[in-house]
């Protein structure tokens, strides 16, 4: 792996990504409204690093992941992967690029075809990209099973015969089959028991080290992200509200939303008094996002300015060079 050579330019850069889903209705499917699922999101992930993307359900984090893989066609923006704009790729080039980018899904019950055996599931990447003959493929599949810690006799079994954690391992094995550079992890442990979560996370960390993988780790749980990420971006209603190195975001969060999320992490200490920040109200609909700062409807510190003026993602007070970005006009004062 010649990771070092390219260390300067990031593996993945997302620039001003927008994904507006049309809401259609009536006999002729006229455009009724738009869902602003992802609205102007930019970030980059260097080689071999992990970016954690956090936010509550419906904030657009999954959509970001799927846009990068071109599973959805974004409305606007650029996704530069390995110095190539992924979104302009067509047919064969797109198919080739799929080798380098993979995805692990949240729900291991949904992401494996219930009608295929484990062998068929894990062989599929090789068949699609016409790699090897039957025997070579089976050998590769066996190798993959070893790598993710599944017994070799799993080959002829079906997904429903495995536990959630084992299925997620199958999903991981499928994702690493073609030796991708980037893996989008779409809440890979959210559906698992807490005891299994750490096993799967450790497996992912181990694979990252041995295979030189780069992760975009999507989660709604800050505690999980903390464990695995180098850098963390917090999303709210289609926008990134704060982005920083993993440690500094926990030590010194600027955005009131980030603070609320961090205060929600359970602390395993029965004597410690919980002083959680409880947000009032619900997330506004992404069909009709509020003007100004999207968060002002629930923000305890909101001013009149917040209701009209959209805050850009800027260097947080006391930082520079895009080390710690925050989208709040009162970032320093509160």
């Amino acid at each position: 792996m010649k990771v070092e050579n390219k260390a300067l330019s990031p593996l993945l850069t997302v620039k001003n990504l927008k994904m507006h889903f049309p809401v259609r209705g009536g006999v002729f499917r006229r455009l009724r409204a738009k869902v602003f699922a992802v609205d102007d999101v930019s970030f980059s992930v260097p080689h071999g690093k992990t970016l954690g993307l956090v936010g509550e359900s419906g904030c657009g984090k999954t959509t970001v992941g799927r846009c990068i893989l071109k599973l959805y066609k974004p409305t606007a923006g650029k996704v530069v992967f390995n110095d190539r704009n992924v979104l302009s790729l067509q047919h064969e080039a797109l198919r080739e690029s799929r080798k380098d980018m993979q995805i692990i899904f949240q729900d291991p019950f949904e992401s494996l075809n219930a009608r295929h055996t484990i062998q068929e599931i894990l062989e599929e990447p090789f068949i699609i990209h016409k790699i090897g003959n039957k025997n070579q493929r089976v050998a590769r599949v066996r190798e993959l099973l070893d790598r993710v810690g599944l017994p070799r006799n799993s080959l002829m079994r079906f997904p429903h015969e495995f536990s959630g954690g084992q299925r997620q391992r199958i999903g991981i094995a499928r994702a690493i089959a073609l030796h991708p550079k980037l893996i989008i992890c779409d809440e890979p442990v959210s559906a698992l028991d807490v005891s299994i979560q750490s096993q799967v996370l450790n497996l992912m960390l181990e694979l990252q080290e041995t295979l030189g993988l780069t992760y975009l780790f999507i989660a709604h749980d800050l505690a999980v992200v903390k464990h695995i990420s180098d850098r963390i971006a917090v999303m709210y209603l289609g926008k990134i509200v704060e982005m920083s190195d993993a440690d500094s975001i926990y030590e010194k969060p600027f955005h009131p939303y980030t603070r609320a999320l961090i205060s929600a992490i359970p602390i395993p200490d029965p004597f410690r008094k919980a002083d959680k920040i409880v947000l009032r109200g619900d997330v506004p609909s992404p069909i009709n996002p509020p003007p100004g700062c999207h968060f002002h409807t629930r923000c305890p510190y909101a001013l009149d300015r917040c209701r009209v003026e959209p805050p850009g993602l800027k260097d947080a007070p006391g930082t520079s060079g895009e080390q710690h970005l925050v989208a709040c006009i009162r970032a320093g004062e509160i």
Binding site: R95, Q106, N113, R115, E124, I128, A191
Partner: protein, 352 residues
Amino acid sequence: MQTIIMVINPLTIKKFKRFKSIKRGFYSFLVILTMILASFFAELLVNNRAIAVRYDGKLFFPTYGHMLPGKTFGLSYDYETNYRQLKQKFDAEENGNWVLLPLIPYDPFENDLPEDLYPPHPPSLERQHYLGTDTSGRDIAARLIYGFRIAILFSLGLLGVTYVVGVSIGSAMGYWGGKFDLFFQRIIEIWSNVPLIYIIIIISSIVVPSFWWLIAIMALFGWMGMTWTMRTITYKEKTRDYVLSARALGASNFRIIFRHILPNTVSIIVTFIPFSVSGGITALTALDYLGFGLPPPTPSWGELLQQGWANLDAYWIVGAVILAMTITLITVTFVGEAVREAFDPKMHTIYE
């Protein structure tokens, strides 16, 4: 084929076990399966040719193959042997020759017109017309069994054609969606409003509808039902994560549809099959009853029903057809219910 060793999904085995455990449906399935298989070998059960003849130390099996003239068996004529008479002759002679006749020794096209009697004849064990004869002296049991064979083949043929067309168009609508879907939705809505019975009346006034003609016409106006179901299932399946992961791996549309989506819709398609079969049988019977179905003298339940209706005093005609229809439709419906219950996805889903 991807795998050389075919592995049956344990879930499928479970479904079959469930099906087997639903007694009413399972026994109905055995009954209807026996009826279908028996009707495929109807020549051995219902025929005016003997199953086996032993004559002068030689064995003959006249059921399949060319007709054997009477002279073969030492009779005076050159046309096909009348095995019923031959049996009587051999039985009387008692010289080691014998004739094994089928259970019902009549052909469905054969008019059995004994002297001094006008058809229809009531059921008679002695003459081996167990269900009597129709107004032309043809054996009703024979016509029922051959009619059943035609009806079931018609039904399965129609099912095959409509499902292939319906599943293809339906899954394409669901998979590609958008304008393609919109276009076909409107086409189907318009097409569904074409009055089928008038079309068939018009066509059968121009050509005499043959078996395949009828299937073609019925399929032409009957493929729409399946499209709605397939469209909906495909819409649902294509957004599921396993399809997305196949796309993320770079699978082609062809591969996604045939390797991923269709196999996952099979269990739903299967539940429709028994109901389509009974629908096909009913449709053919109705058309034959109205006289727009298969041309006479094809053995047909609809035609028998019509005769029975015209001769209600010959109660055995109407009685036999209604009994046969009731048994067939009830068993098929029971099978359908059992299949639906055994394949119910809610029974096999684990909610966490």
